[in-house]
Homo-oligomer: 462 residues x 2
Amino acid sequence: MQNINSYVQEHKDRFIDELLALLKIPSISADSAYEKDVIKTAQEIKNSLENAGCDKVEICETPGYPIVYGEKIIDKKLPTVLVYGHYDVQPPDPLDLWDSPPFEPVIKPTDIHPEGAIFARGSCDDKGQMYMHVKALELMTKTDQLPCNVKFMIEGEEEVGSKSLGWFVERNQEKLANDVILISDTGMIAKDVPSITTGLRGLSYVEVEVTGPNRDLHSGLYGGAVANPINVLTKMIASLHDENNHITIPGFYDKVEELSKEERAEMAKAPFSIEAYKNALAINDVYGEEGYTTNERNSIRPTLDVNGIWGGYTGEGAKTVIASKAYAKISMRLVPNQDWEEITELFAKHFESIAPEAVTVKVTPHHGGQGYVTPIDNIGYQAASKAYQDTFGTTPIPQRSGGSIPIVSLFEKELKSKTILMGFGLNSDAIHSPNEHFGVWNYLKGIETIPLFYKYFTELSQ
Amino acid sequence: MQNINSYVQEHKDRFIDELLALLKIPSISADSAYEKDVIKTAQEIKNSLENAGCDKVEICETPGYPIVYGEKIIDKKLPTVLVYGHYDVQPPDPLDLWDSPPFEPVIKPTDIHPEGAIFARGSCDDKGQMYMHVKALELMTKTDQLPCNVKFMIEGEEEVGSKSLGWFVERNQEKLANDVILISDTGMIAKDVPSITTGLRGLSYVEVEVTGPNRDLHSGLYGGAVANPINVLTKMIASLHDENNHITIPGFYDKVEELSKEERAEMAKAPFSIEAYKNALAINDVYGEEGYTTNERNSIRPTLDVNGIWGGYTGEGAKTVIASKAYAKISMRLVPNQDWEEITELFAKHFESIAPEAVTVKVTPHHGGQGYVTPIDNIGYQAASKAYQDTFGTTPIPQRSGGSIPIVSLFEKELKSKTILMGFGLNSDAIHSPNEHFGVWNYLKGIETIPLFYKYFTELSQ
């Protein structure tokens, strides 16, 4: 393919400015206060797809936030790539830990990104990585090198569980028909160690509420005689892991695939320094399930984490109160074969069963999704591998990710096609955290690599 | 004593109106946003003491909120009663559980208070009960029946641990010299079952902070591999009670007095219905230390309760995050002989010792106080008992309270005098809770009973 690099060099300042503009809109799907901004972002995506050369772009209404659909069909006989991404972002709190406001993007160099990184919520997850595909399409159309058909489906509810996506996909099978699905919403091992994510963990996210007395009580007059919902909640949550950090929910591990010695040895080849890992997080020690390495604990093993907990008096000073209620948000990361709805039921059944008589418990499922694996002999995987070899000069490593993109297994079920996860972010990019950022080098490298995927996928499809 | 009842009947509407005005000022000592209101309340107390007949009233500055001092000395040879109370109140949250705004007092009848109850934060604890003493003084001076000397010491930091009171008492031993200390900041068993509190629990209040990674993390990428501070905090708190709800802190029970069979039998005589207790709180079962009754659990036994807990994402929707920090406010109620500073040290030492390597823990003591017991052969107790017999027509029951008034043991140490706790509130008055209230009948009954305490105490002192 000609002049990819020169086109990127020529237009890179504009590519960056367009992304910065997109990052200024606080499209926080979890907080209804930002509804207008989420909608506005969808409109901006529509405009950008039209400018990039799509023939047809539409904002598709759903029961939730709209999905932006765009397409450029050059020849029905040629293969079709469906690009998925999301334009919504995680809530930015805690705000006080950001060095610069989350929705006022700034470019600063870091040790890992000497060429500069874009600091803003969504810079990597997923506005930045999604926008690489929009600019790659622009590059292919403007240089007249688009080798196949392309469709875009960009949603606005990924950070709250893609509530409406299933609804949309089921109703638009034909419109979304494709030969491969391409997503950049994952990371790679390092700038000089490209990787392709072949496995994802599933997710079950629930909220629990423990109710004791019908009102807040004076801890002196009632302390010791009445169940304290916070104390009870801590006991219940603590009991969900045993002394080896195995999860104690009956049936939880029944469908977990145990990897072979060989597979685990293969995984262990990925470069990893436990010291660097601990230093990066400023922790004295790692912590997790007995019998597994750190890289296994966060990829091939299921987990249970409390994502939020609250109850009683949390303000300034002291209040001697026994709260009426205590709450927690709990998420479980699942591995392929675990069914998220089944796990959610197992959790609810178990959690209710361990509550003492003196309290009542409510478990509310938030959302979830299945785990997923892509075989590396798939031509989509091979096309991606060749593309990386051209731009990085090295063969990418197949990698299992601990994260979840629940919709990948939905796509396989509804659209009967495999998904290729070409991630250009780094673990150090702090997605979902304060000071999220995305390297300018990674952003531009993505725009260079994606057109080559189209080229090789089209060739391998013949 | 003549016309006590007629004077109260004649002036009761004004007595109530004056209290309502006092309750409108949000004197929340725990929240610095209300500093002006706390100061304003002190000024109002000063005015009310002058109007009630004190010869000398002053607002005494302290390192914290001022203490209002007032006195009426009629004859140095006569005994002196020192009245203690506090003009600060607990924070009112959770606000949404109040039926009417906490600082807009309203009078409504309830099942227990058919004559009406005053609903407002502080109505019972302690503005209402403290103001009974101001009006009782007015009654005695205006009807020329004050039989002895009286001093008032009304503070503004009781709800945050009386931080400055010790400082003030140590520096004003002579000014505060007295023969007995009189406090109404406790309750009685029922309107037809008056009681005098002879024992109080001590208190140790701490805040704990658990820190894991140096920033919030994506629970997919790190979940299972890094210690989650919230999960760890729940495990640490849960471990503070064993399966019999005994507290597991080494040395915690060393100085706890075990009551004799006889004493426990005496206590058991107080009228109590476990069914009524459960119904009032809408709980299916009580919960507490194995081997003790409900009334023992909340009076003669020490406890450990979480008063507040927070960490991670607590907003709307879902956020898949592992928080960097988790926090809890924990209070321990102590019984006589347990030293609160020693217990605080034992807690800190133990809590730090049970933290896994993967996190760091900080324990910050908030405040505390010792437990206390008044012997019933004390003439102050006997004077109070006679006063109740006159106004209630029945002998009050000596009662151990689960609550803490740390300063009572401070007074004994610094001023060498015993404290008599004449409480007129009811457990159902919801102090420290939404919809705190105080029965109009109880308020007026207090104003009638207090002058009789002065009469009998003066007689018994001769």
